[in-house]
Subunit: 233 residues, 2 copies
Amino acid sequence: MNDQHIASAFDRDLEAIQAQIMKMGGLVEAAILEAASSLEARDEERAEKVRAADKQIDALEELINEEAARVIALRAPTAIDLRLILSVMKISGNLERIGDYAKNMAKRTGVLAQMAPVNDSAGALRRMAKEVGKMLTDALDAYINRDAELALDVIARDAEVDQMYNALFREFLTFMMEDPRNITACMHLHFIGKNTERMGDHVTSIAEQVVYLVTGMHPDEARAKADTTSMKL
Amino acid sequence: MNDQHIASAFDRDLEAIQAQIMKMGGLVEAAILEAASSLEARDEERAEKVRAADKQIDALEELINEEAARVIALRAPTAIDLRLILSVMKISGNLERIGDYAKNMAKRTGVLAQMAPVNDSAGALRRMAKEVGKMLTDALDAYINRDAELALDVIARDAEVDQMYNALFREFLTFMMEDPRNITACMHLHFIGKNTERMGDHVTSIAEQVVYLVTGMHPDEARAKADTTSMKL
């Protein structure tokens, strides 16, 4: 009876924290899309809003970590419960990093707005960011529904994001070689592309944790992929 | 008496895990220095050894996290003890990321060895890596000795690493503009520089956790700094 009581109390705590994770995920997804759209529209005001909103994301991460530590101290969970509560900390960390990359993209918008646009690079970056945003939605759905299949699908889709990045990288190299005046802008655009590709890696890490939580196994496909792409610029 | 027993049992567990952290830190520091020296010497064989050694670092991180989870489940630590054991997980995560950057540097050595050297860039990168290695040693000493003052010193020194990176970045930009044939090599070298600067950020994050563990406060200097540098390429 007492065990039952403790168990359900833990479940309520966990649900409350997971609700915060979903809220944080929503803010991060909005930041990704809004940062990419502001870049394409060369709209510094909208970009500034993205930068300001990152403080809320950071505050949520701190709140989630404090809550998780409180629950561990209060409920002393073991085995799967402990693994669940620890994964909450890892996932909020991934979300915080993705938010930082979106904020960085927004900061570069101010610099790039002063330079001549380089072809449709900003449009290609927005499409890439949109894909990462979709992956994030699915990764968090997979987490809440303990859906390993959807999580593995997210992990597989990260390869497409890597391909988009590699295509962009070759394009930037060409633009720089064609006209040295493009070099500075291309360096910024390239960093935005690389950071967006890293966002995809953090989403993949969330999906990997879901697979581990549900199946108890580390998805090797993801490991192998991470290894073969780590050489790319 | 029983409390006493439990407390000292936790202390023994924590000490054992901290010993693993120090071992992992030693391997990561060696990886940083060896990767940078191999790059300067254009020695692919030594670089290959660094890549192989990263597996050991990843395995240690997994071991440390499993051990920490086991201790939490077994000892149900609260308050400061819980904060200590959770920090172990965060620090091993930082060390693993630093190891990945060193591995990535080693992988690029193979590519760069095929290209003409760009000035003394590799030497400058090695000096930067050496500085980050020193910061890591001090950050881990600060952690083991709960030395907030040394940790704050490490955080302050990260600004020097950022300056080294910014100087390199301007240099690479010049080399690329002077001769488009330098662009591909400079993109690789620039990424190595950026990743080394990121290693410094992870060392700083370890130092920040030490300050928080010892003083209970987040070092604002570090926060402010992180914000002003996030705009840099």
